[in-house]
Amino acid sequence: MNGSVATQARLWLWQRVSAMVLGVCVLVHLAVIIHAVRGGLSAAEILARTQGSWAFGAFYTVFVLAAAVHAPIGLARIAEEWLGWRGLKVTVATHLFGLLLLVTGLRAVYGVVVP
């Protein structure tokens, strides 16, 4: 990523913090899956559990936010180090990708939570 050294240091910190959040989220997510698939699973069953559940919605919103912060910073690294991209190109591409994660992720949460 470009920008001042202070920004670069801050991005590094955000990536660390979002990684910690993601770590917890993934564990909870796996537990939820394992719990949910016991005794078969159908779309109707899932929606019956998720629709109107604010806890479910809040948890997955946090999950989506953390992913939308974490992934673009990591991708910026890869673009810089493996593709040799620098500057604006990296910023634009990774911001767009972050936005994509945010929109599709929140859309999915909305889809299963709001009745």
């Binding site: 990523m1 001042s4 050294v5 202070a6 670069q8 240091a9 991005l11 590094w12 910190l13 660390r16 810089e80 180090e81 493996w82």
Partner: protein, 238 residues
């Protein structure tokens, strides 16, 4: 110990090729002995660098069978595969000729990381008292024995990917100075080593630590710098 070694040595600059030499295998022979034999007995036009021969000066590092090593303290018995050696200049540095690299960028980066001690007292002042068991002093001890050989720098992938990256040795040096309680440039130095050309670019893969012949752990120092920076407020345009 009477057989011969087959030694491939890089000849040329960035463009060049390996030449093969036969070198008698001797007991307790080091890789530097092998290179010296070639230069003295076979081809005097071979260029390489060394000074102390005892692991102190840091000038003899080369790539031996693909790995950066201090050649004066590397025994042939440890690295030769079926009596074969391949000796090349260090990676990540421009080649001047044969086994000699241009280390200016390597040392310029030490300067960029403010790798120089700056005290605030004069000879008229009393000695500083630093407790040997203090955390800072122990951090300095762990990193201070660097001989500037560049083995870590040549082994670091991030240096290859980001030519502006300061690299393990310069950051290790900065870490020892950041922990030197007598130094007066701590804040500036932290600004100099932050960001994507500095400690935040390190992927903590520890190749540098694995390769350092002095068994230092630049990776640990770099992690220390990151931790410290997470708690430090940098100037907006540091």
């Amino acid at each position: 110990m009477t057989s011969n070694l087959k030694v491939k040595v890089w000849r040329g600059r960035e463009e060049g090729d390996f030449a093969t030499y036969e070198v008698p295998r001797l007991e307790s022979q080091t890789v530097l002995d092998v290179v010296t034999y070639i230069q003295r007995r076979v081809d005097p036009s071979l260029s390489y660098r060394y000074a102390c021969r005892v692991g102190m000066c840091g000038s003899c590092a080369m790539t031996v069978n693909g790995v950066a090593r201090w050649t004066c303290r590397t025994h042939v018995s440890k690295v030769a595969k079926d009596g074969r050696l391949e000796i090349a200049p260090l990676s990540n540095l421009p080649v001047v000729k044969d086994l000699v690299t241009d280390m200016s960028e390597f040392f310029d980066k030490w300067a960029r990381a403010l790798g120089r001690f700056k005290g605030g007292t004069s000879r008229k002042d009393d000695f500083a008292r630093v407790k040997p068991e203090s955390l800072e002093r122990r951090a300095v001890d762990a990193g201070i024995e660097c001989i500037g050989c560049g083995a870590c720098y040549a082994s670091c992938d991030v240096v290859s990917w980001r030519p502006e990256y300061l690299g393990p040795a310069a950051l290790n040096r900065a870490w020892t100075l950041v922990n030197d309680v007598r130094d007066t440039q701590r804040q500036e130095r932290l600004g100099a080593v932050a960001g994507d050309a500095g400690c935040h670019a390190c992927h903590t893969l520890a190749t540098c630590t694995e390769r350092c012949p002095k068994q230092l752990a630049p990776t640990a120092g770099i992690a220390g710098l990151k931790r410290l920076l997470a708690r430090t407020k940098l100037e907006a345009e540091a």
